[in-house]
């Protein structure tokens, strides 16, 4: 009796379960292939073409979609869930469909000069703390960067060391040294990059580029010319080539203590010019300037009145030249007839 009722109970429980699951079970010939990582399902079953043509297409497709989606959702609901901020979330596994990459995998970078050396010597990288205790300000500050712990540049007093020249500017010396360090660091960094990408970086203008400007080519020619043992002294010029003068210093200054007589003469000439009442005049320059201004004016006039007045002849510049100063560079054209 007891066993009978036991079996009955079990059967009833099974029937109840089946009832519950009736809503979500779908019967298919072949099981679907699932990829929950991509929320993907693939149904391999044969589609009955007759049924497809008989019923309305949309309804058939919709019912097929509903069945497949039900199976996919069943599969997703089997995954482990957790509660994230009051929302029930299912953790997805890794996707199983192999999709091709967008770009090829990045190649590992070749080690820099320091990294090679460290590997050779067996130097390990020591992990440094982010913050350092600053005694002066009595607080934790960065190791480097904005508001760092030991800031060299913010010192207001630098003691002159004993063996240093007393007239040397210590602050300038420090700044210059820093600039040099920065420049050297940048140079080494670029050399590392060039080595990594296997680009040859010779001196200026000589690196082969797809398009080189006229100036770069000229520079390359000049550099090649003087790269001989006698610094280009015996290199012939091309038929129309001119030797560039004044390569090197762009401005030439007289030495401080040189020829006394010439210096004296120069000073006296300067005083004479300053004394004289008449302004010094470079006639050619003045004339050219006047002519240029007249051209501009006539061009503007022609634009305004469409050739009615016509162009007035160029007035001679000599009469007006008196109003010009010796170095009329920064003068405005309106001040043509200014009195001096």
């Amino acid at each position: 009796m007891a066993s009978c009722s036991f079996e009955d109970v079990l059967a009833k429980a099974e029937r109840d379960e089946a009832e519950k699951l009736k809503g979500i079970t779908v019967s298919k010939e072949l099981d679907l292939e699932f990829d929950p990582g991509n929320l993907l399902a693939f149904d391999k079953n044969r589609i009955d073409t007759r049924e497809f043509k008989d019923c309305k297409r949309e309804d058939f497709l919709r019912s097929l979609a509903r069945d497949n989606t039900q199976l996919l959702v069943n599969e997703i609901w089997k995954l482990p869930t957790e509660r994230v901020e009051e929302v029930l979330v299912a953790k997805l596994p890794d996707p199983t469909t192999l999709l091709p990459r967008e770009k090829p995998a990045p190649k590992p970078k070749p080690p820099t000069k320091w990294e090679q050396f460290a590997k050779l010597k067996g130097i390990q990288k020591k992990k440094k703390t982010n913050l350092v205790w600053d005694e002066v300000h009595k607080e934790w500050r960065r190791r480097w960067g904005y508001k760092r712990a030991k800031d060299d540049t913010k010192e207001w007093l630098i003691e002159v060391p004993e063996n240093a020249d007393p007239s040397e500017h210590q602050f300038n010396k420090r700044n210059k040294a820093k600039k040099e360090r920065v420049a050297r660091n940048e140079y080494n960094r670029l050399k590392n990059i060039a080595r990594a990408q296997k680009i040859k970086v010779p001196g200026m203008g000589l690196a082969p580029t797809p398009r080189q400007s006229k100036a770069e080519l000229a520079q390359a020619v000049n550099v090649a010319k003087i790269s001989t043992a006698s610094v280009g002294k015996f290199q012939d010029n091309l038929p129309k080539e001119k030797t560039p003068k004044n390569t090197g210093k762009k401005r030439k200054f007289q030495p401080l203590i040189g020829d006394f007589s010439s210096e004296k003469q120069k000073q006296l000439d300067l005083l004479k010019v300053m004394d004289s009442k008449k302004p010094r005049l470079d006639v050619t320059k003045a004339v050219n300037k006047q002519m240029r201004e007249e051209d501009m004016e006539s061009r503007h006039k022609n634009k305004k009145d469409f050739g009615k007045k016509g162009r007035r002849g160029k007035m001679s510049g000599k009469g007006k030249a008196g109003g010009k100063g010796p170095k009329g560079k920064g003068r405005k054209p309106q001040m043509k007839q200014g009195k001096r």
């Binding site: 299912a90 091709p100 995998a105």
Partner: protein
């Protein structure tokens, strides 16, 4: 090559000669990059970050797609392109203006666009007498065309025509492929892979169970592919898993397979090659000592040791008798100093 229009703001690359042609709406860079010898050097930190985001990475993020309109396109094709753009909204670029490009003859123009906008998936729509209502789905590897499939639209129902509410932008859709053709035929297999790539959203580690709203269903039957998209309604059922009900939504296409260009097997294999050693990210400030204990560093502010809150030991508390003696001593001292 005609200049494609973009939907967003332009970008001004002064140093680039090539970039005056196309503007991607996602790059807002000014002339902060120096271009020489094919190497681009960044002048500002922002441009450096921009260049880094375009470099190949160990684990790739979501692929972006570009949706291009061809030389001549019909109403159907334009609407279809707009609908697909709406589906793929945040990671898609739509080039609305006409582009005289023939992908199957010459794919250099497409590769150029992909390089400029950093998109690896594309959808090209065109219409002519020989191939009416043509859509070309394709993908790139290393800015060269990997696969291309030309599908003709026979029947199209747009988003506008179906009057139901759509799910929010950027929801990851459920993808279902049905039909044994997708398993047996090689071309269909590749097409299935391509469509998965195109329509699957970003790779996520967890998904909100109530947020599974959108399903795309592809059926392959007799050389035709029916694409339908439905909105998923989760109804109560007797147990934990809900019962599904579908509601018509969104664009639905009836495609017919036309030409295709599949990648060779070696190229396909190269494209799948994964880099070695995708390491998990290390958390900073955690170290382990020899015994295996987990250590970290704390940087404390200066503490006033007088006002520290320590444990209160009753025995060490100052008694009343001692207190009065101290105050008496202090008081005795004070008048002495006054004097």
């Amino acid at each position: 090559m005609k200049v494609p229009g973009s939907t967003g703001s332009g970008c001004r690359f002064a140093g680039f000669t090539v970039c005056s042609y196309t503007c991607s709406h996602r790059c807002g860079q000014t002339h902060t990059m120096a271009h020489r010898d094919g190497i681009v050097k960044a002048k500002t930190r922002r441009s450096k970050r921009f260049l880094q985001s375009r470099e190949p990475k160990l684990t790739e993020g979501q692929k972006s797609s570009m949706i291009i309109r061809g030389g001549n396109s019909s109403e159907t094709v334009s609407q279809a392109l707009k609908d697909v753009y709406a589906l793929k909204k945040p990671n898609a670029v739509l080039y609305k203006r006409k582009n005289m490009v023939r992908p199957f003859d010459d794919s250099t123009a497409l590769e150029f666009f992909s390089k400029k906008s950093d998109c690896s998936l594309f959808l090209f729509g065109s219409h002519n007498k020989k191939r009416p209502n043509n859509l070309i789905f394709g993908r790139m590897f290393d800015f060269h065309v990997l696969d291309m499939f030309e599908l003709g639209i026979e029947r199209f129902v747009s988003l506008r025509d179906v009057k139901t509410d759509t799910c929010p932008e950027g929801t990851k859709p459920l993808l279902v492929f049905a039909g044994e053709l997708f398993e047996t035929d090689r071309e269909h297999q590749r097409l299935r892979n391509l469509l998965t790539d195109f329509f699957c959203g970003p790779r996520v580690s967890a998904v909100r169970l109530a947020g599974l709203e959108h399903v795309l269903h592809f059926t392959a039957l007799e050389g035709k592919i029916y694409m339908r998209s439905y909105k998923v309604l989760l109804k109560k059922s007797g147990c934990r898993t809900p019962r599904i009900q579908l509601q018509d939504m969104g664009p639905s296409f009836d495609f017919v397979m036309r030409r295709n260009h599949m990648a060779s097997d070696d190229l396909y294999k190269t494209a799948h090659r994964q880099p070695r050693g995708v390491k998990p990210k290390k958390k900073k400030n955690i170290s382990h000592d020899a015994f295996g204990t987990r250590l970290g560093r704390l940087h404390m502010q200066k503490q006033d040791l007088d006002k520290l809150q320590t444990r209160k030991m009753k025995g060490l508390r100052k008694r009343r008798g001692e207190q009065t003696a101290e105050t008496a001593a202090a008081a005795a001292k004070a008048p002495r100093t006054d004097e």
